[in-house]
């Protein structure tokens, strides 16, 4: 039918093929097939772009978008004048991915030199089969920059913080320290962890080829730096207490010691030191003894420093007056099977002299006039047997047994501070009752602002009682009292000594705790200082001899530092002649 011989002569338009009539469905089928291909493509792209776009979006973002962490620093701890006690500064830690770190011997040598580690040790770490190794932590930032400048493969850096304690061992027990990851482990660092801790923020950015940030994308989460904490401590007074205590512990060959200085007007703790102590900047080879914050976590039987409370309760309930005569002869008193004795036998003493001479017999006789419940209520009111609510780790409540289980001998011994155990901080707090007009104020370790509402005080004794006891305490420091060494020239001082036997395994050992708690200036007390010396090993062990001078040193320095005017009319102190007669 078709003449192919003449094909060359044909023009396309005349092609006989075109003249064939194909069935119409063939072209329609093709058109449909192509259209449906388009539909599938559009559908797929709609699916990828709109419905299920997470995966591709993520892949795309990862090409140019980076999430950066904005680090936040831990809050500072400062004393009441703003002197820094603890502060963080950024450091670098250098790490390696051993499988990626292929260094030439020369590079290894350079790196070892910068990191100050042994070259063999470095090579060993780089050869380890772990996926990630720290090469050195806590490097100064400038060294970190030098390491970065070497541009070594597989070696990277992280930012971390290091905490410095400029005042070192002086404030170690109060401030405490942190572990590696900014976690408070002791002291204020632990107690105020949630406030000190900073929360790092984050931002996502677009970076260009050179690694420079081009713009922010999305929202920025700002970092929250930790809050700074202002303590009530006074660095100068803290130093005074520290140096005096350290000296005393060495001089009297004691095992340990503690000192607390409290502002009686505000309840602020101005100084709190313990010996032995440690350097928080270098915590290698620490022993438990060094770490213990004795003033807060150790309780001891305080001895005679508790007598004023017994006497105050007796005065308060009207059983005795300051001049009531108590017969303390012959220096011994037998209750049941036990005998109470005085270290120096006394005759008849007034109640005031019982405090001045520190007579155990006298105190026991006065206590016998009181009911057990009365005494318990009073001890409880001045805070014995309760934690002091400073929010400090390891605070102890001490031991004050319920009055119903007291035997008469126990009530007698408790009157002079045995059979009851307290911490030094409790003792200091209890004495604020005499430093104030018979009321108690809660202690605080943080700075109280002048415009803060005065915290609620709890009345314990009447003003009259507090003043009378204060006068008795003044007698104890004067000639004829137990602690003439606690005198401070120019100031009226009131205080009480304590020399207690230590309990070891339920028995009283021939070891002592010498203590002194006092207040000054007695005309309008501002400071309470409590000193405790544990196991003085020298010839002297009485509170008046061992703790008294420490008290005088700390108190006189603190009064001077705070600029408190002397309250003795200066004539006594002014003429050198009269001073020599004393």
């Amino acid at each position: 039918m078709i003449n192919f011989k003449g094909a060359r002569a044909h023009k396309f338009a005349e092609s006989p093929v075109l003249k064939l009539r194909l069935p119409a469905w063939r072209s329609r089928l093709m058109a449909l097939a192509i259209l449906s291909c388009f539909a599938v493509l559009i559908g797929r792209s709609f699916y990828l772009q709109v419905l299920n776009n997470d995966f591709l979006q993520e892949k795309g973002d990862s090409r140019y978008r980076r999430d950066l962490e904005i680090s936040a620093s831990r809050g500072r701890i400062a004393d009441r004048h703003g002197d820094v006690l603890a502060i963080s500064t950024p450091m670098k830690s250098v790490w390696a991915i051993p499988s990626d770190a292929r260094l030439t011997p020369q590079q290894t040598k350079q790196l070892a030199g910068l990191l100050e580690i042994d070259i063999k040790e470095l090579a060993r770490r780089l050869a380890s089969d772990k996926p990630f190794v720290f090469l050195k932590r806590q490097l100064p930032p400038d060294v970190g920059e030098q390491v970065a400048a070497l541009k070594l493969p597989g070696i990277g850096q992280d930012k971390e913080y290091r905490r410095y304690y400029p005042s070192g061992e002086m404030t170690a027990h109060v401030v405490g320290f942190t572990g590696v990851d900014d976690k408070g482990l002791e002291g204020v660092e632990l107690a105020y962890q949630s406030q000190l801790l900073g929360h790092s923020g984050s931002r996502s950015v677009i970076k260009d080829r050179r690694g420079q940030i081009v713009e922010d994308v999305g929202s920025i989460k700002p970092p929250q730096d930790g809050r700074d904490i202002r303590l009530s401590l006074d660095a100068k007074i803290q130093y005074l207490a520290y140096s005096q205590l350290k000296q005393a512990v060495t001089d009297y060959k004691a095992k340990a010691g503690g000192a607390v200085v409290v502002d009686a007007k505000t309840g602020e703790i101005l100084a709190l030191v313990n010996w032995p102590t440690y350097n928080p900047n270098n915590r290698e080879r620490l022993s438990g003894a060094q770490l213990r914050n004795r003033a807060m976590t150790d309780t001891f039987e305080p001895g005679s420093v508790l007598k004023p409370f017994t006497i105050a309760q007796a005065l308060e309930s009207g059983k005795v007056r300051f001049d009531t005569i108590i017969n303390c002869a012959p220096g011994k008193l037998t209750i049941g099977t036990a005998t109470i004795s005085d270290s120096h036998p006394h005759g008849a003493l007034t109640v005031a002299e019982v405090i001045q001479k520190s007579s155990n017999v006298g105190a026991a006789k006065v206590a016998a006039m009181l009911s057990a419940q009365q005494m318990w209520d009073m001890f409880d009111a001045v805070g014995f047997g309760q934690v002091s609510h400073l929010g400090f780790p390891g605070e102890v409540s001490g031991r004050l047994r319920p009055w119903k289980s007291w035997r008469p001998i126990e009530q007698a011994t408790m009157s002079y501070g045995h059979g009851i155990s307290v911490s030094l901080i409790q003792l200091a707090r209890a004495y604020t009752v005499f430093a104030r007009e018979g009321d108690m104020i809660p202690l605080t370790l943080t700075l109280t602002k002048a415009d803060d509402n005065p915290v609620g005080t709890t009345p314990v004794f009447s003003q009259q009682t507090a003043r009378e006891v204060r006068a008795m305490l003044e007698m104890a420091v004067q000639p004829g009292g137990t602690a003439p060494k606690a005198q401070i020239p120019g100031y009226r001082v009131a205080g009480k000594t304590g020399t207690a036997y230590k309990l070891e395994g339920g028995q009283y050992a021939k070891k002592y705790v010498a203590s002194f708690v006092g207040l000054a200036p007695a005309s309008d007390p501002r400071l309470v200082v409590a000193i405790m010396i544990d196991e003085p090993g020298g010839a002297q062990h009485y509170g008046g001899d061992v703790a008294g001078p420490v008290f005088a040193g700390v108190m006189s320095g603190a009064l001077r530092t705070l600029g408190i005017a002397p309250d003795i009319s200066l004539q006594v102190a002014q003429t050198p002649a009269s001073k020599e007669k004393l």
Partner: protein, 93 residues
């Protein structure tokens, strides 16, 4: 009609160019801000380090030592202290 179209085209090109320049400007400014912020951070760190240094130099034991040994200072005797006070009664002399 053609002229109007050319005018529109020109306007579009101008707009496009200005978008490019402003984008460029904004990136430059952003980078400047970025580097200033970095500097601020650096200065913060330096401030902290200086604070550490300051408080290391100003520790009480060091002051005490220098005052006593180098400057030969001492606590005055009580007899030599005159207390100045607003109230007449406390002035002893």
């Amino acid at each position: 009609m053609v002229r109007f179209n050319i005018l529109l085209l020109l306007a579009a090109v101008l707009c496009a160019l200005s978008v490019v320049t402003s984008q460029h400007q904004s990136r430059k400014l952003f980078q400047a801000m970025e580097s200033e912020q970095e500097r601020a951070k650096q200065l913060d760190v330096e401030y902290d380090q200086l604070q550490i240094e300051l408080s290391t130099w100003a520790t009480s034991p060091r002051i005490d030592k220098i005052a006593r040994e180098k400057l030969k200072m001492r606590t005055p005797e009580p007899a030599k202290i005159i207390t100045a006070s607003a109230s007449r009664s406390e002035v002893a002399r």
